[in-house]
Symmetry: C2
Subunit: 177 residues, 2 copies
Amino acid sequence: MVTVASRIRLEDRECPLSTTVEHVGEWWTLLILHDAFDGYTRFDQFQENLGISSSMLTTRLKTLVTDGLLERRPYQTNPVRHEYVLTDLGRSLRPVIVALAAWGNSRLEPHERSMILVDAESGEEVQPVVVDARTGRRLDDSHAYVFAAGPAASDAMRGRYAHRRPVPVPVAPTAGT
Amino acid sequence: MVTVASRIRLEDRECPLSTTVEHVGEWWTLLILHDAFDGYTRFDQFQENLGISSSMLTTRLKTLVTDGLLERRPYQTNPVRHEYVLTDLGRSLRPVIVALAAWGNSRLEPHERSMILVDAESGEEVQPVVVDARTGRRLDDSHAYVFAAGPAASDAMRGRYAHRRPVPVPVAPTAGT
DNA sequence: CAGTATCCTGTCCGATACTG
DNA sequence: CAGTATCGGACAGGATACTG
């Protein structure tokens, strides 16, 4: 019953991963959001920063507004002009963007990084990591945390996690390749 | 000169966000990775869990192996059979998956969640948040942290962050919609 | 400046059929 | 069981042209 219903039918999936991907799955969506986090609000700013075609930008902005991630509001009235600002919901995606960017950076030496996250006051680079809010422990790649069926899990989802064997995450013996 | 070169040319982008999206941008890629984190390693397991077509699964697995996120290795030899296990690089994507799933869950009441991340021993649900590893402070939607040009930033990237105005993240006055 | 409309291409993806 | 090969549809996205 989702309106857009992207190419694979994710509506009938209950995985929260799919839910998120459904909203930010299009490449440009993420990049536009990133622009928004950088303080940009206007059509031409997005267009210039991203090099996106105007037609695509129109489409993506509409989706973002429809999804409630951006709010479109007039900022002048003679010829009416709109700007696009993050909603609370949109802002809540920040950790996702940060995590995504952090992974990209993690594959580079510090001096190779072209975009970093910094403390707004000190200007010092921050190291984004994902932790458990209660314990502060890193979730990283440790085996200490696993996905599991939640309260609202369907039978299918429960079946998925029925396997739960002793070895949670099989890994390749050596590094990559 | 990237081999796959997905539809929009991301190779010429230096944004770490784009880099990540280039690797996990395809819907199935993320979901396959998620399966791998859940301990699944075999073709038919992926296929059954995800409901993906075999041809697509083949393609995606190949990409994942090529990208160094999964390793394909034989687990039996009479008829040779392969399994797909996470490499170190692949495992390093876990925080990204977790962050993505966490956002999906954040939009639901706890009792509505069908998939959660739990402590493997206690079984207690964990609350994934993104923090600065050095200070432990949450990166959330606060204005305390902003993206900035890194050491390797191109002129374009520097230009992008030259604006840095007093208000880092414009927000909608009220909540959403 | 801030878009909309139209055409076109690439490719993601499912469906189906086939193989050792 | 673990895939490969091929077909076709849907749609993201670029390019271009047009509007107030």
